[in-house]
Symmetry: C3
Subunit: 333 residues, 3 copies
């Protein structure tokens, strides 16, 4: 039994198989590969694209989806082992995962980092606990990485650019009024490096470098592929020559659980917005973003409305890659 | 591609076709007209009848429904063009409509007027923005009008009265402790006039006359049909001779965004409650209401429990007309 | 037409038929017994197991489920007859039940006791009002009893122990930081007694004896079966010789609507936690709980993780008994 928690546990070839089958499913949307399969979608955080694409995609393949919001329409869950549960949580992950495994063939989970305790967030405890106590496969719908977004991102880039080997990929930090989590950013550099691109990480200062858990994977992927991994704080250096620009905002890991001073620093970097001037420095790059995106904060209207912006196409691809992924995970059951 | 945002954009003949097919679907509930069609139901406001009838109706025709509550389980949406999105909204309607169009074959929207800015409410900006940026048909599940309710209303009246031409139709304002929106009231006079009835609007004072956007349509429909459109503040004059009594409460448009003085005025008119005495002034009228209805505030128990009350039948017809409507909108895709 | 509001309205033989068919459905999960049947699931309270097992189970039998949360995503409902509805409720149960009966073939309801007014809670007014005004069967998803849990509980005990006649059954009160409702406890003694077991109710003091509505049913069931019904406050006496230990926490009925003094009393009884020492007093009992369960408050980790703990299996059986129940209720429609 295989989970889909991080693409780091999957080889490039295995991921390419999922992507190739996605392309088939895009042409032949309605299949019965999930017939009589039930999938629980657990959301600890809001969702539009993820929920819609999973719910519809599962039904298009003949399966059943049930959507739960623990702590809202379902009971709050305890994740600590050996806990004396005298606080808010009404049941333990051991029972939750055990019971859902009785009802469902697969459990998908969205559980964002809480930005209070870095070690806890890095442990990715919610999804790893589900994986530990469930007897069915577990799929990541965004925790401290966002591997379904990675698949959609690469599928979109392959559709646009063909073979990605040796292409120049830029992940640029952008401003956002709130300190967002690093999931998509972590995912971006891991997957771009895995698929053979030269990866640049552009961020305003050392405060905004991603955690070494993820930069080290990107570095080692690049090393294995003979490509380069670069960090820069210089906008022109970042954009120069890029074939792909991917944007994401995130809060500084150096101010975990300490949002006020972080905000003062972050507010200096509003000029990292993706605009036409910056795109003009690239090698006719395509631009994308995982969405949701605040227009004229993260990227200008002109960039979002340009032909080279493939964010909506990428979001559309979420459904196809997820259908392929679920089929892959459940086909041998 | 056709939307269903207001019945004003549809001819009486086109609407009658939808109603006729509803009658077929009432006898043959289970069809495959929506097979492999996915429909997003977006609720910015609560719903019981609308959600249940859409969700079940779509499934009875072989389709898939996904229910979203933007701002609650999905991200809050920005509707202003060229906005610098530094406030609460996390994504722009351009992306939301674009992405949902990737996943779905149709988008249905409930977005009540906010009763703060009249011009903004009159612009019906939420649904019109979806219609502008989506590449799939858009259906109104109640905004500043409620056209699905109109269809159910007319189907019910035709079932009860046959041909509606020349029948006397009364829309009466009723009391409610809160200033409700005018959607169903606007819809009531537009559709009753379109289907050839003499229309009376009974309201307590000039403060409660509906907006001229809607009264002018009702007047022009009546003129085209050779029928009459009358506004009265006199209860006996309103009820006298009516074949149909439809009731609805709404807040005064003259006190938009200014609820306290409006409430003082509204509280004088509790006697507009629909009761047996008023119904006795009619020509054996049938009575209906769109529901939800506060008993003994908007109408008495005796009226609601009477045989001439067809509100539950009308609510039941919501499902049949909507199934017909969705089939109509999607059949050529 | 039959409802499933309390097992007291069903004979042991009728219930056994449902259980027997559950066993068939466990081996042959996918049937069409609910094909083209629509079922409304109304939740006035949170749910994980109940919602998931109903939603998936209905789909596995070819039916459609719609989930509503009145007062949250649907309108708040008035249950008092002849009420002047000038408060929070936007519509009356008469219309809600009438309209849902237009759309659905069955209505299932979760409406916990509110712990404010004992007589109101004992009247089970929410579900009984639905049953009175709906024209379709009504199913209890937990009100002041939890009959679906009863079915799953007995199925699990029969799977573990075979014929239950003459077995020794203990329901033990356990501590919980909040005053929970008595639904599962009431259900436990009613169903254990009906299926021929000697029933002991162990609770810390007379303050925690269940309401005579339910103890009297248990007593009369035991009398009819020639078994014993005992209440004890002595832990050793309670556990001694038990073949089954079922645990549940509940607030004292003597302090209804008066939580502060009740908490002071309840807080003295944390030692009622189910632990290995207590289980060792039994006759190799199996242990179960309806879940959710706070570990190390209601039962220790060691008990929950032991082989004799069948709580997850019982939760899994929820789906099978409910599929059987719904099929039974709808098969003659």
């Amino acid at each position: 039994m295989k989970n889909f928690i991080s693409t780091s546990e999957w080889s490039k070839e295995e991921l390419q198989d999922i992507l190739d089958y996605s392309k088939d499913l895009k042409d032949n949307k309605f299949q019965e590969t999930l017939k009589n399969k039930s999938i629980a979608l657990l959301f600890f955080n809001p969702s539009m694209r993820t929920r819609t694409s999973f719910e519809i995609g599962i039904q298009e393949l003949g399966g059943y989806a049930v959507v739960l919001h623990p702590g809202k329409d379902a009971w709050p869950i305890e994740f600590k082992l050996n806990s004396v549960m005298d606080s808010e949580s009404e049941e333990h992950i051991i029972e939750v995962a055990g019971v859902l495994s009785e009802y469902c063939d697969l459990i998908a989970i969205r559980a964002f980092p809480k930005f209070i305790n870095l070690d806890e967030d890095l442990s990715d405890n919610v999804i790893n606990s589900f994986s530990k106590y469930a007897s069915v496969p577990v799929v990541n719908m965004e925790t401290i990485t966002h591997p379904c977004q990675e698949l959609a991102h690469i599928l979109t880039l392959q559709e646009q650019l063909g073979d990605l080997s040796g292409k120049d990929y830029l992940l640029t930090w952008t401003y956002h009024p709130k300190p967002l989590n690093t999931a998509v950013a972590n995912s971006s550099i891991m997957i771009a490096s895995k698929f053979g691109m030269n990866v640049k990480l552009l961020c305003p200062s050392d405060d905004y470098i991603l955690h070494s858990n993820y930069t080290s994977q990107a570095e080692s992927n690049c090393k294995a592929n003979g490509t380069s991994f670069t960090v820069t704080h210089d906008i022109e250096e970042g954009y120069s020559g890029a074939n792909v620009v991917y944007a994401k905002s995130w809060g500084s890991l150096n101010y975990y659980g300490n949002p006020e001073p972080e905000k003062l620093i972050r507010d200096q970097y509003k000029h990292f917005i993706v605009d036409e001037n910056k795109i003009s420095m690239t090698d006719n790059a395509i631009f994308s973003h995982c969405l949701p995106l605040r227009r004229n904060i993260k990227a200008t209207d002109a960039v979002m409305d340009a032909k080279y912006c493939v964010a909506v196409q990428e979001a559309g691809n979420r459904m196809h890659v997820q259908k392929s992924l679920l089929t892959t995970l459940l086909k041998d059951k």
